[in-house]
């Protein structure tokens, strides 16, 4: 039971981070149709920005988070303007590869600026544990879940109630119709990248807490986003939350219960998401909540 509670909390916290990362990914995909391979590096940059502002420069945590979110949003817009916009209308391979190039460039910049050695995570989230159902659970697991809930609530409010949010949904639904209604599609593209980078700051912050280090390896999360979004459905915001939590829990249980039980196969949790991914693509390619497009040939 204690193992189960620990694993569940770990899984939920990981799932929360995956959900935030997948959210940024899906926002970009819905608005622009671009598969963003750099989402993991956005998380990484977010974690390092907060490290820089809070740990190195000693700013108050609230200021550090707000400034990091703003810096990341501006970075997202600049990236969209300089790198993605010239490729509108190019073939899908070019667009996929440019986001891969972007991820490599961001990784190289991070390595250049901050070096390869890990830093301790920012200190404003308690390292204490609390007792839950007879086992000690670190507080940062709860913080991770809380941040994710807050981010999803904020995004859902934004998409339902604000003018820009409605514009984004209109563009996601039908780009040409949205254009005909006078919606500035380019601004929506820029905004979607800004949102992806900004939400990644919060994701990166809790990611570094849960991993207890600010280091380059954090960007691996960007790859696990793929199983999450395929499971949830590429077009679905709700799907990212469900997919994130499912993959998070699945990983935690595989890691906790199966590791070392099967002779010769350690670290199964690293590969299980990808096996799930292939199975979903074979059985139900549009995921749990995605739009089923019927295409023959």
């Amino acid at each position: 039971m204690q193992t189960f509670v620990t694993l569940t909390m770990n899984g939920l916290a990981d799932g929360a981070i995956l959900a935030i990362a997948a959210l940024g990914f899906v926002v970009v995909y819905k608005a622009t149709g671009i598969i963003n391979f750099a989402q993991g590096e956005f998380l990484l940059i977010g974690a390092y920005l907060i490290h820089q502002f809070r740990t190195v420069w000693g700013w108050p945590w609230s200021v550090a988070i707000v400034v990091a979110v703003i810096v990341a949003a501006v970075m997202g817009m600049v990236i969209e303007r300089l790198i993605l916009r010239p490729l509108i209308g190019e073939n899908a391979i070019a667009v996929v590869m440019v986001t891969i190039g972007l991820s490599l460039a961001l990784l190289a910049i991070t390595l250049w600026v901050w070096g390869a050695s890990p830093f301790p995570p920012p200190d404003f989230i308690s390292k204490e544990t609390v007792e839950l159902l007879g086992t000690n659970v670190p507080i940062n697991r709860f913080v991770a879940i809380g941040v994710a809930v807050a981010v999803f609530t904020g995004f859902s409010f934004f998409f339902r109630k604000t003018k820009q949010g409605l514009a984004m949904r209109a563009v996601a639904d039908d780009q040409q119709a949205a254009m005909a209604q006078g919606i500035n599609v380019h601004r929506v593209f820029a905004l979607s990248w800004a949102l992806a980078a900004a939400s990644a700051v919060l994701g990166g912050m809790i990611l570094s807490q849960v991993n207890n280090a600010v280091q380059l390896e954090l960007s691996v999360t960007g790859i696990v986003v793929f199983p999450v979004v395929i499971l949830g459905g590429l077009e679905s915001i709700a799907g990212t939350a469900v997919g994130g939590v499912l993959i998070g829990l699945f990983n935690a249980y595989t890691g906790g219960y199966l590791n070392g039980r099967i002779e010769g196969f350690d670290g199964l949790q690293e590969v299980v998401p990808f096996v799930v991914l292939v199975l979903i693509l074979l059985i139900k390619p549009h995921g749990l909540f995605g739009q089923a497009r019927i295409e023959r040939v």
Partner: protein
């Protein structure tokens, strides 16, 4: 009776005189001379780089078949190289069988695995397929790392060097041709050159056959291809198999050449490097894959070379201290710049340069 107007060509040979110009033959002669002379005037370290590039050419040309010509992005080249490399290591060292057998086994096995991961191509398109190959990459490398009983896990595996009639390949120049003091790279250069040339010529000619035309038809307009009788799903799987087979063979060759395999040489980064090669070279261009493979292999070595020549502490000392980030950044920058400026790659640049001089002093 109407008089003949215009120029009529009635034979294939007459048609080909348009394409086979004297300049082509001169260029071919220059390339042959350069390739034949390269191992004699290059230093050992650069010959090694050239050999690595030659092996990359095989995998890059193979990847271009599936990505450039059939339009299916594959991010699993690293995985297929791993299958080739580990099969060679296991067959030669563990089973003690001759190297050619290992190379064949490596090619066949990689092609089979490629076909399996190409199967979803029957139902999926574009992005979904790219993600499937990403999963393939991770699953293969995971198996290599974890299946200790077969692959040795995180430890490296040794590969028994190939022999011809009891003579090690690396000793053939000395024993058979009396060339003294040549490094092992010298002998391997000819082996790699042979197979790389074979891969390039084979692929060029593949696209003159019905199979190759079918693949191009799928890339350009899959519905139309299906309508005129191309079995789209079957050909997509076939394209994956051919491409994976070539990557597997490149992996086998690489394993025998480096005489050691470790999983670190087959990570997702390697797959990305290969896609970058064919993008920088030119999607859907065999010569482009060659340019791309040469350039991408040369670039980091050149940066390292420059970095090692600069004293740390001088104005450019940061290059020495930051070689790895600079290599990574240069790679990313080259990729992004090519996509933004010339998405059709070096093959297209070369074409444009030729046109510029041919038409000079006119613009067009």
């Amino acid at each position: 009776m109407a008089a003949a107007t215009g120029v009529y060509r009635t034979t294939y040979q007459a048609d080909m005189t348009l394409r086979r110009t004297k300049a082509e033959y001169v260029r071919l002669a220059l390339i042959v001379i350069a390739l034949a002379g390269a191992p004699f005037y290059l230093s050992n370290s650069w010959l090694f780089v050239l050999n690595v590039a030659g092996i990359s050419v095989i995998a890059a040309v193979g990847l271009n078949i599936v990505t450039g010509y059939t339009g299916l992005i594959s991010l699993a080249t690293g995985g297929f190289l791993a299958i080739g490399g580990y099969t060679t290591a296991i067959v030669t060292t563990r089973a003690g069988l001759p190297t050619p057998l290992a190379w064949v086994a490596a090619t066949v096995l990689a092609a089979a695995v490629g076909a399996v991961f190409g199967l979803p191509a029957g139902r999926l398109k574009g992005i979904y397929l790219a993600i499937t190959t990403l999963a393939a990459q991770y699953i293969i490398v995971y198996l290599v790392r974890s299946w200790k009983a077969v692959t040795g896990g995180l430890d490296s595996l040794l590969v028994t060097p190939p022999k011809v009639g009891g003579t090690l390949i690396t000793q053939i120049p000395e024993k058979w041709f009396g060339l003294e003091g040549k490094s092992e790279h010298f002998a391997w250069y000819w082996v790699i050159l042979f197979f790389a040339t074979l891969a390039v010529l084979g692929t060029v000619n593949l696209f003159r056959t019905g199979l190759g035309r079918a693949l191009i038809a799928i890339r350009d307009q899959d519905i139309a291809a299906e309508v005129i009788g191309v079995r789209v799903a079957r050909y997509k799987v076939l394209a994956f198999a051919i491409s994976a087979g070539m990557a597997g063979f490149a992996g086998a060759l690489q394993a025998s050449y480096r005489s050691i395999v470790t999983f670190e040489r087959y990570t997702i980064d390697v797959s990305i490097v290969y896609v970058t090669m064919i993008i920088i070279g030119g999607l859907g261009s065999v010569s482009g894959s060659v340019y791309g493979a040469l350039f991408i292999t040369w670039l980091p070595e050149y940066i390292r070379h420059v970095g090692s020549g600069i004293r740390s502490g001088s104005a450019f000392g940061f290059i020495t201290e930051q070689v790895v980030p600079i290599q990574n950044a240069a790679f990313a920058l080259v990729l992004i710049l090519f996509l933004l400026v010339e998405p059709r790659g070096m093959a297209r640049l070369w074409q444009r340069a030729k046109d510029y001089f041919r038409l000079w002093p006119f613009r067009y």
